[in-house]
């Protein structure tokens, strides 16, 4: 058996409150296209950052071409022939293709950049890999697919034998994906090894020689694409054997708290990211929204809160048209919000807990009195939230940054629950938090549902959706494509609808 190009064993990486990689093993053979798949938050990116020297592992060994390595920076990884094509391109728009490619690795002659040599090398590189390039084009004039090609050439120019591509197809249209795959096969034919991160299953099955599946920071399987179906892969990704959050009897009544009617949202280039979506959420009901990330769930939530412009449709809260209300009025009317990313939308990390507890409720009692803040009211309300939702903190003057992810999340959930909302819009409420905190978040959501809270729950954790929701809808390409009863649904069925495999 030949030496693998890259072998990672027992890689563990912890962040405060989260284990991003937990004893991960990855073995990539020389000259193969190896896909690493998993949901967002499964630990793919962390693993690749460790391999590329951007972060260092807490535990585990890395072998590159049979030699043990320990990179402390990407430049060391590059020296060992590992290159990375980032999802967000790292190109200087105002420089030409040639200048971008050589940037940081310029051939020199008497202390000056040897432009002739650079051009010669670049053209030779392009010719030998069949990559179509125009060295003198300004990068800002290039299409996305062309930019990506420049990134790949940049990596090859630095002598990479192993290429890591982080979700390369996320930004491409289908024709560009085909072009990319042609290029990747060419690279493989010339002996390069490619590690390919993705969560679009059809693509992975089309290009990969081997697939490694990560789930919740662990390697769950390494499979041969010829022997699995998209269904089975989806199941591996979301994990059907995990403990289920138990369902409770229905308490929903006939009253419709939130009615969404033909709601549409357009993106920057006037394409619909939310396409005539209609759904109802009843009092005391949890409606789960399943879907692969980026299929309109985020837009749906933002539209309900008033954070993005809608292009059509209606939003009714208890029968009242709220479509033109500003965010504040919607919050005051009783819409609670648990954001997808607590750091970007949910917290003021450098402010003390008691100021975080009032965020989103700063115009209402007990946090405000008239135009003034009610500091003592806010502080005692925060103390109650901390107590009731078991937020582990030295005190309410501690800044939110100091808390672990799970405790931050408990604070966010507690703050929204304490305001007794009519409608709660929650996105990935338990993402990235440990099992104990997850259980207490679930308990909180269930208790609120018993008290008549209407909830729209977006989650990538299918077990969570099936376990908590009274009804499930599946979103694909901005549309609701299925409505399912969680009692009769399995992650496998859901996965099928989510990836469009059953179309």
């Amino acid at each position: 058996m030949t030496t693998p190009a890259v072998e990672l064993s027992g890689i563990t990486k912890r962040f405060p409150g989260v284990v991003a990689n937990d004893d991960v093993n990855l073995r990539v053979a020389e000259g193969e296209i190896h896909a690493v798949v998993g949901e967002n938050g499964a630990g793919k990116s962390t693993l690749m950052k460790i391999l590329y020297g951007m972060q260092s592992a807490d535990e585990g060994r890395m072998l590159v071409g049979g030699t043990e390595v320990d990179f402390s920076s990407p430049s060391e990884a590059i020296e060992h022939g590992i290159g990375m094509v980032h999802q967000h391109f790292m190109l200087a728009d105002n420089l030409t293709v040639l200048e971008n490619v050589v940037l940081g690795a310029e051939p020199r002659r008497r202390g000056l950049i040897d432009r002739k040599a650079a051009r010669r090398d670049l053209e030779a590189l392009g010719a030998s890999y069949g990559l179509d390039i125009h060295p003198d084009d300004l990068v800002e004039t290039l299409e996305v697919g062309e930019r990506q090609r420049v990134e790949i050439i940049k990596v090859l120019y630095r002598g990479a034998r192993v290429l890591i591509l982080d979700e390369p197809t996320a930004v491409l249209v289908p024709q560009e994906v085909e072009e990319l795959f042609r290029n990747l096969r060419e690279l493989k034919a010339r002996g390069h090894t490619i590690i390919f991160i993705d969560h679009k299953l059809e693509e992975v099955l089309a290009i990969a020689d081997t697939i490694t599946v990560l789930r919740q920071g662990r390697t769950v399987a390494t499979v041969d694409p010829a022997e699995v179906t998209a269904h089975e892969l989806a199941e591996l990704m979301v994990g059907s054997e995990l403990p289920t959050p138990s369902t409770e009897p229905r308490v929903a009544d006939d009253h419709v708290t939130l009615a969404v009617r033909d709601l549409s949202v357009l993106d920057g280039s006037d394409r619909p990211t939310l396409d005539r979506v209609s759904l109802d959420v009843h009092r005391g009901e949890i409606v789960g929204v399943a879907g692969v990330e980026g299929n309109g769930q985020g837009e749906l939530i933002e539209a309900i809160l008033g954070l993005c412009q809608t292009s059509g449709g209606q939003l009714l809260l208890d029968g009242e048209d709220i479509g033109h209300w500003p965010v504040r009025r919607r919050r005051e009317a009783g819409i609670g919000y648990v954001p997808e990313d607590r750091h970007s939308r949910g917290l003021l990390v450098d402010a003390p807990l008691w100021e975080n507890a009032m965020l989103g409720h700063q115009t209402m009692a007990p946090f405000a009195r008239g135009p003034f803040l009610d500091r003592s009211g806010a502080r005692s309300a925060t103390a109650r939230i901390v107590e009731h939702f078991d937020v582990r903190t030295p005190g309410i003057d501690t800044s939110a940054r100091a808390l672990s992810g799970g405790n931050q999340q408990k604070l966010v959930i507690g703050r929204e629950m304490a305001a007794s909302p009519r409608l709660l819009v929650a996105a990935h409420p338990t993402r990235g938090i440990d099992v104990g905190a997850q259980a207490s978040v679930w308990a909180g959501l269930r208790a609120a549902r018993r008290d008549g809270l209407a909830m729209l729950l977006v989650s990538a954790d299918l077990e969570e959706l099936i376990g908590l929701a009274d009804r499930l809808v599946v979103m694909l390409r901005g549309r609701v494509v299925a409505e399912l009863d969680p009692a009769t649904t399995t992650p496998r069925i859901l996965g099928g609808y989510m990836t469009g495999a059953d179309e």
């Binding site: 405060p16 809160l305 954070l307 500003p326 965010v327 504040r328 009025r329 919607r330 919050r331 005051e332 919000y337 954001p339 970007s344 939308r345 949910g346 917290l347 003021l348 990390v349 450098d350 402010a351 100021e355 009032m358 965020l359 989103g360 409720h361 700063q362 115009t363 405000a368 135009p371 003034f372 803040l373 500091r375 582990r392 903190t393 030295p394 501690t398 800044s399 940054r401 100091a402 808390l403 672990s404 405790n407």
Partner: protein
């Protein structure tokens, strides 16, 4: 805990000052003069009553400038246009003040109102451009500075000049006594000896102090102040919490400009009673440095303003005795700003990791109890 907090808060400015004195001393050594001698001269001259009065007079407009800049900084808005806002406001309010005759308190209040309105509206132009056209406020305020200064020159020369004055100095007519702000010499002299004639402690320092107190109460006690701080800490979370980003930008610029409008008044109402070619410029830019040193906190900005005011007031002695160039003070001020920014960051990191340890400690005992 609270003692530690206070020590931590004091650590950063102390470190910054020690560090910048050290750097400046090295510069003086290289220049071939004795640092010790220079510092001693400045200390002995700088502790005289008259120098302290000059310090307070210099610190008053610097404090207002620092607060005007800090209001913007607290929500990540860089109002570089304080300079133009205050010069324009000083010219127009001095002219209005000279044109009317009112009872004393009303007269002063009118002048202040005009100054704040002018500053506010002019800053509002930058705010309006940002919310309607997405023009970055740094760009627009820098350009508005140029416009303001050109407009001031034009208006002074063609419209507002005192025709009765035949000297070469271009100036607006003088504000009558009812529109002048009384000095505080009487109050100070009950505690000290008499202040040398010609030196006056401007009463406007009380207004500056009041502005600082109001700024603090606004930030910490009002809903609008909370919205402003929240936007500065995390604009996305603030928006999701119901803060209207555009309204907050407008409010902040108007408020910052209103305070900026007051910067010229200590001089106009307390000393010159007019706007003329000798009017002090550049305070708006120094205000940025003062706000940085003071960490945008009302008390910190006060320390920054007093420090800068003292350095400016004590420096002239260096020209008179010894051979130390007074420009060393500019170097000192520059290094103070840089080292303040650095040492605040260092102290902040120490505080953060301390807090993270405390938070981790708070988690552990309970888990052990459960186990």
């Amino acid at each position: 805990m609270s003692v530690r907090r206070i020590l931590m808060a004091a650590a950063a400015p102390v470190v910054a000052i020690v560090f910048s004195v050290a750097i400046s001393s090295v510069v003086l050594l290289i220049a071939g003069t004795s640092p010790l001698e220079a510092w001693m001269e400045m200390l002995s001259y700088g502790t005289r009553l008259e120098t302290l009065v000059a310090t307070a007079n210099r610190a008053t407009p610097l404090y207002l400038a620092g607060i005007a800049v800090a209001i913007g900084f607290r929500m990540n808005l860089f109002n570089i246009g304080v300079e133009g806002q205050y010069v324009l406001a000083a010219l127009l309010s001095a002219s209005v003040g000279a044109a009317v005759d009112l009872p004393a308190a009303l007269h002063v209040a009118l002048i202040m109102l005009v100054a704040m309105t002018v500053g506010s509206l002019f800053a509002g132009v930058a705010g309006y451009l940002k919310v309607t056209r997405g023009v970055h406020e740094v760009i627009s305020t820098i350009m508005l500075n140029a416009i303001a200064l050109a407009a001031v020159g034009y208006m002074l020369r063609h419209w507002l000049i005192d025709d009765a004055d035949t000297s070469l100095n271009m100036k607006t007519p003088e504000i009558p006594p009812s529109g002048r702000f009384p000095n505080l010499n009487g109050v100070v002299e009950t505690f000290t000896r008499e202040i040398t004639r010609g030196r006056e402690l401007w009463g406007f320092i009380l207004v500056a102090a009041l502005v600082g107190v109001l700024f603090h109460l606004f930030l910490t006690r009002t809903r609008v102040g909370y919205d402003l701080r929240a936007t500065g800490l995390n604009p996305f979370a603030a928006e999701a919490s119901g803060v209207d980003p555009k309204a907050t930008v407008m409010r902040t610029m108007l408020l910052s400009g209103a305070v900026a409008g007051l910067i010229g008044l200590p001089e106009v109402l307390g000393d010159s009673y007019k706007y003329d070619l000798a009017f002090t410029r550049g305070l708006g830019f120094t205000g940025i440095a003062v706000a940085l040193v003071g960490r945008n906190h009302p008390a910190g900005v006060a320390i920054g303003a007093l420090l800068f005011g003292w350095l400016d007031s004590a420096a002239p002695i260096l020209d008179v005795v010894g051979d130390t160039p007074r420009e060393i003070v500019s170097i000192l001020q520059g290094v103070v700003v840089l080292s303040a920014v650095v040492s605040y960051e260092v102290v902040n990191r120490v505080r953060r990791s301390q807090e993270a340890r405390d938070a981790a400690a708070a988690t552990r005992p309970k888990q052990e109890m459960e186990a």
